[in-house]
Amino acid sequence: MSEISVKAIGIYKGYKSIFGKKTEVLKDISLEVKSDEIFGILGPNGSGKTTLISIFSTLIYPEKGSLRILDLDPRTKKDAIRRQINICTAKPNFPWSLTVRENLKHYAMLYGMYGSGLKKSVDKQIGAFELEEYRDIKFEDLSTGLKQRLSLAKAMLNSPRLLFLDEPTTGLDPEIAIKTRQLIRRVHRENDVSVILSTHYMPEAEMLCDRIAFLRHGQMVAQDTPQNLKNQLHLGERMILRYIGQVNIDEMEHIPGVMKVKAEPGKVEIVIDRMEENVDRIIKLFAGATIQNIEIKEPDLEDVFLELAR
């Protein structure tokens, strides 16, 4: 049975400006993350994703709420938690003039590693993230993709049980982003590490995450597996038909299960629930026309996101 890596109940965080005005960043966030999963925190910019990850990683503290990380209380067991977690930040930043190897050595030392263990750990991460060629290159001279790989390598130095990835592919080229996602999946699988990942890129979450929490204006609006979220929201499948001839669009809207119809000359887009039960009745409406092409799309997280963001 999997353990619980993070258990948060009623987390609240606000910031006060110098004039005393308070901005609420997180409101009443409750969630549980299991040790064997990749958990996604999704939301638009400014929804509180980074703040939530920073609270879970003990970088900042919540104002209200109860929190347990790896079954430890972060108020009293900070060091014990910090020994077992690590983070890869959105824009990876390290001391500029230190090389890849020097940066890894520096952070390994901060984690109390020494001697051959330190060297082995640094070499292992350099190898695992294919940084051998760049080990003596200064951080400031690395490309964005290599900086991200260094950040992931640094995050694995202490063999964490819980890894936080804050928008790990932001700003990367598509090709590098795909590689980074493959790395994340590999790290999760091979190192038996629980991953909490924030992103505003829906396909990434769909690709990587076992479960997802949606944040909007600092509040949790939904939390489940990607499939369950799609099912729960009854988003339906999308059927796009291209045709020549006459079709009664008005009648189409009255077919059971049809949620939305968008028509333009020669093309109709139908959002339909339980397609397998109703597709015959739709097709029959095209009796007086010639169907040229049918395209069927399952709802994706983008649709979930748009629905939740309404």
């Binding site: 965080k13 910031y15 006060k16 980074t50 703040t51 920073s54 990683s57 003990t58 970088l59 900042i60 503290y61 900070k78 060091d79 014990a80 910090r82 020994r83 977690i85 690590n86 983070i87 930040t89 824009k91 930043n93 390290f94 001391p95 500029w96 003039s97 230190l98 020097e102 050595k105 520096h106 952070y107 030392m109 901060l110 984690y111 109390g112 590693m113 020494y114 001697g115 330190l118 200064k138 640094k154």
Partner: protein, 261 residues
Amino acid sequence: MNWRGELNKFLASTYKNWIISKRNVFTLFELFFWPIMGLLTIGLLTRFLNIGSNTVSFLLVGSIALTILQTSQMDVAYVLLFDMWSKSIKNTFIAPIKSYHLVFGALIFGVIRGTFVFGILVVVSNRLFGFDFLAGGITPVLIFLVGVYAMAAVIGITVCISILTFGQKADVAAWSLSGVVLLVSGIYYPVEVLPLALQALSRAIPLTYFLEYYRSVYIPGPHNIFLGALLAILYLVGGLMMFAWSIERARRTGIMLRLSE
């Protein structure tokens, strides 16, 4: 964790400061140019004013103390400044470290740099101005240097606290705090020439006592090195506690995140 792991948490900051310094060409200015320029300026001024050897030693001790203080306090402040400038503070403070690991780790490098600068200045002041820094033996020199390094640590800690409390712009404190010490702790003049209010302030600064102690080797006079040492210990312990508190405060207020953005 065993002692080697604990030691490496200190040495992590020493290592980082060392690598950054050795790759920075301006380190040469910090180690050679400015210290020697400062000493030459004061030394040549004493020649122009044609003042007695006691006053010359008074001024040269002050000049050398100030230079070592500035060099070493910067190294302590750099432990946070380098992270702030490179926006990597998050990576440091997610690690299981305490405030004292950072301060003493950086101070180790500050002491190494300060002692190197001290060595250069001792040679230059001896060759050019005939001033023998070791005239009173090695013990007064060591006590004097310990006092200067303790003061450097206190100033460096104060800069770190300012950054964590007031944010990025507080790094100006790194450059100006030693100026305040220069004014009130009797670097270039006896504290008796200060207005009474500033004299009271100077008596609260440990460096004042360490300077008086070391100068008493050349110009016999009263000193209270024990009070200076007590103040230095008090400030160090208090400073470390305040630093630890300011880290926790930065985590509560979110400054920790803003310093990484």
